[in-house]
Amino acid sequence: MHLPALGVLMGGIVPFFPEIKAPPVKAEPIFQVGPLVVTNSMLGSLLAFLIILLLIAAVSRRREERPGRVQAAVELFVGGLYNFSKASGGTVGTALFPLFAGLLLWLLVNNWIALIPGFGQVVVHHGAEAIPLFRAANADFNNTLALALMVFFLIHIFGVRNHGLAYFVEFINIPALFKGRPIDFVVGLFHTIGEFAKIISLSFRLFANIYGGEILIAVIIGLAGPVAVIFYGLEVVVVATIQAFIFGLLALIYISLVSEHADHPGEHGESGSHVPTEEHLPT
């Protein structure tokens, strides 16, 4: 007996398992507040916020000198993140810790609650069709695009803060034209394109992985029944964790790269240091 048939057989044993459909690409609107259309992915992200707030309230209310089991676990987690951020963020590692940890924690909770069975099965009825009340926030491209844009602007704000207006020489290299090095000017234009590619790759990486996970679960349930999904579900959990981690890590690394103090920000590659610079990293 091959595996899918076994899966259907075992799936048949579990009664009343709700039908799981792959979500459409667009998040569905639930209700409207003035001009703001509230979609189910926004409700999902608000739920994640609520859970994080409750967690923080629960953990920080009972702080003790000798930590209990929960407090020790949380301290281990936050301390680990802090050390990691310090180690990989270079000179601004500690300053960027709140950004890194905040992004990571929010994405992690968002990605994880979407994998709890029953999360997508809470439905509201709009006329004849039933619309899920919650949806994984990162399975909606609007959410990941907003995060990617935030990181993009932060990168360049930090760049300008550290190098002043000379920061833009890396992208629009007008001095090179006067020095008779037009190639450098063209290279700068390619850097500009590369910067905008960061938005695409950051936002689509997260969106595609989470949305792909949702589709994978739906397809496997359709093919082989709810029991078989456990094996693929494990992979989806791992992917959800890694992607949350990677989004925070990339934000940290991009920002720390533009914050390195170089004398000539336009000429990273020639400084002879082996600190990885912007030019060496693709998007």
């Binding site: 690409v25 689509f204 595609a208 990339l250």
Partner: protein, 77 residues
Amino acid sequence: MDAHAAQLLAAGLAMGLGAIGAGIGIGNVSGKAVEGISRQPELKNDLQQVMILGIVFCETVAIYALVVALILLFVAK
């Protein structure tokens, strides 16, 4: 072959062919990282971080392919 069939076929081909390169890249990166870690286990944490970054950048190529496939499937008329 009508236009819609060609669209579906193109989406499948884009994703499948795009995944080949990313797959090879990710395999190379993790394989070399395993070699490095087994040679110098004390560098495990550093190597792991570099490995994850390398994997992410390889994966980006597949993501571009996925974007093309999604556009073909859902946006292009």
